[in-house]
Amino acid sequence: MPPPLSAPLEISFDYTRSLGPVLARFMQSLAQRRILGSRSADGRVHVPPAEYDPVTFAPPQELVEVGPAGTVLTWSWQPAPLEGQPLARPFAWALIQLDGADTALLHAVDAGSAAVLRTGMRVTPRWAAEPAGRITDIECFEPAAGTATRVAARAATEPVPVPGAETGTMIAPISLRYTHSASAEESRYLRALAEGKIIGQRCPSCGKVYVPPRGACPTCGVPTATDVELPDTGTVTTFCVVNVPFQGQRVPVPYVAASVLLDGADIPFQHLILGCAPEDVRMGMRVRAAWKPPEQWGTTAENIDHFEPTGEPDAPYDSYAHHL
């Protein structure tokens, strides 16, 4: 048996995150090249600022300016930076206690070589050329001359708002790459589709036929083992008329998305019904797959472009009622 089909999959999403009053000022100040911490009732200064004190749960008394220089408390070496990390060349991760702070900030240190790093070394931020009100406005830290001095945190003056910061949000882009595998059964299904055939599988326990095959019978929880070739004709069990446009839509609205029960199958699958006016589609309507030209076939469900009416009399309600 050939190995299951797999394909690269990249998932990207831009999260819009609300900052709240404390982090909004922190981010706005970063864009001004100033780093703020929060002072708790006990006098401790948290950096990044605490929205609520982790011990007393009280909101901070005030935000204060710290650093910008600081001291490395611990570090690790990243010899092969990963996508998205602050630097593309080898660098150190470090927990950095900024002058005037009582806690440490995690960031990158551009030191060139692990041999340069040591706990206790002094570092200073390198600012990004284009501030955006994000933690990445600090591009990284870099080694600094001088020794640690206990600098009193200064009360922060109200930062000048940066463009876009008035909404109190930040955009956090996320991108992950996967190798996505189809199951063995899905792979057989997709390979059969590439030959213009529709393959389902029968549960050895209850005898029901699932298409696409699922690997395990959802009723019995046992592996489905026997392949069953199904015709490309079926019955509309239920449907909806899509009137809402969305990004990536390939058919102009209005159109019909339907559950189609292939003849011999025990579970309907979703497809488009074209080839007639949306208002003519009805429950029980008999339909047939409209295949793309064979030269366009691949291991994909898109080989079937849509379903269209056969013109046969409608299936009686009782023949599909238990699939609704």
Partner: protein, 350 residues
């Protein structure tokens, strides 16, 4: 409240890569079968199901819903899910049985860690404002923690390598382990760093796997298992998610969970320590002396299927009880960066 016991445990082989999908069905079907075979139960006997898994790991939305296919959930079953290790799913199941909502429950966890880049996926469990945008990876964060302890003389690189060697040696008795064998500590220490101060042996391997545990109320437990592993304490606690706000050389949440669950007097402790130095932190936090056998299964360093490895630790602890090898044992699970969140389940034979 009534007594509840672990009556069955099964796990998939821990492997670097499976051909299966990220919804876990291929790994879970044989695992459920094995757990049922141990007890004579069928799916119809399970009153409550709870899973632990992650959509970020699976790269698809609602991956745990597809996993329900492995149950055979028709007619509908009472089912729940946590976006956590299956150990927390077991906690939810335990509460269900304690309160009488179910008499028998099955908790499972599954993860196909090989589908994506695990180090990057785990960056997304961090604070989304000031940490995740930098994509700090799981190994680098653990390395920051390891150095803190090294430079405070709390442990040494040799002590860390000894943890790795002990894990691989113990895993020789676990046919489902991914890494096992006899390792020479000096040879381990001669290997290069992968994230200084961590070497490859300090880090759990990337693992695909799954695990399931069945628990039952007292009357059923005695029928289902010759020597049930009775749950005498089950607690979880959490520390701050801000890495720079806490002392990373300790695990206060592990200590608190261990104290609340009464982890004292155990013969065996199955620890979910994905990094060698974290085992040393956990032993201190849980007060485990030299007489306690640590992770006879090999622990997470011998195979770390995400979202299943913690549940498997409880399963192995229960197995130590049921086999007569221990009178009292604990299973531990962790979640989050640098041992941020910890769960302790204490079990005993009667």
């Amino acid at each position: 409240m009534r007594d509840v016991a672990v009556v069955a445990f099964a796990e998939a082989p821990s492997v670097r890569r499976t051909d299966g999908t990220t919804n876990g069905v291929e790994m879970l079907v044989p695992v459920f079968r094995e757990a049922f075979d141990q007890t004579g139960l069928t799916k119809n006997d399970i009153g409550f199901w709870c899973s632990g898994s992650s959509d970020y790991l699976a790269g698809r939305a609602f991956s745990f819903v597809s996993a329900v296919d492995a149950i055979g959930a028709f007619p509908p079953v009472m089912e729940s899910h946590v976006e956590m290790d299956g150990a927390w799913a077991l906690y939810e199941a335990w509460v269900k049985v304690l309160t009488g909502d179910a008499d028998i429950a099955l908790a499972y966890g599954f993860g196909k860690s090989s589908a994506g880049d695990l180090r990057r996926v785990l960056a997304l469990q961090l604070d989304p404002y000031v940490l995740a945008p930098l994509w700090p990876d799981s190994v680098s964060i653990a390395a920051l923690q390891a150095r803190l302890g090294l430079e405070k003389n709390l442990w040494t690189e040799r002590a860390m390598a000894q943890v790795a060697a002990a894990s691989r040696s113990a895993a020789l008795s676990n046919p489902r382990a991914q890494l096992s064998g006899s390792a020479d500590v000096d040879e381990l220490l001669a290997a290069p760093y992968i994230a200084e101060p961590l070497r490859a042996h300090d880090c759990a391997p990337v693992t695909d796997g799954a695990a399931a545990v069945i628990i039952a109320a007292e009357d059923q437990s005695r029928e289902l298992c010759e020597r049930p592993a009775w749950i005498t304490g089950f607690e979880h606690r959490i520390d701050s998610g801000s890495l720079g706000w806490r002392d990373l050389t300790t695990a206060p949440s592990a200590a608190a969970a261990g104290s609340a669950a009464d982890a004292s007097g155990v013969d065996v402790a199955e620890l979910h320590a994905p990094f060698t130095h974290q085992e040393l932190i956990l032993r201190a936090a849980l007060g485990l002396g030299d007489a306690v056998r640590i992770s006879p299964s090999g622990g997470a360093l011998a195979g770390n299927p995400m979202f299943a490895a913690g549940l498997a630790r409880i399963g192995h602890a229960a197995r130590a009880i049921s086999s007569g090898g221990a009178a009292r044992a604990l299973g531990h699970a962790t979640s989050g960066p640098a041992l941020q969140q910890n769960l302790v389940c204490v079990l005993e034979g009667r």
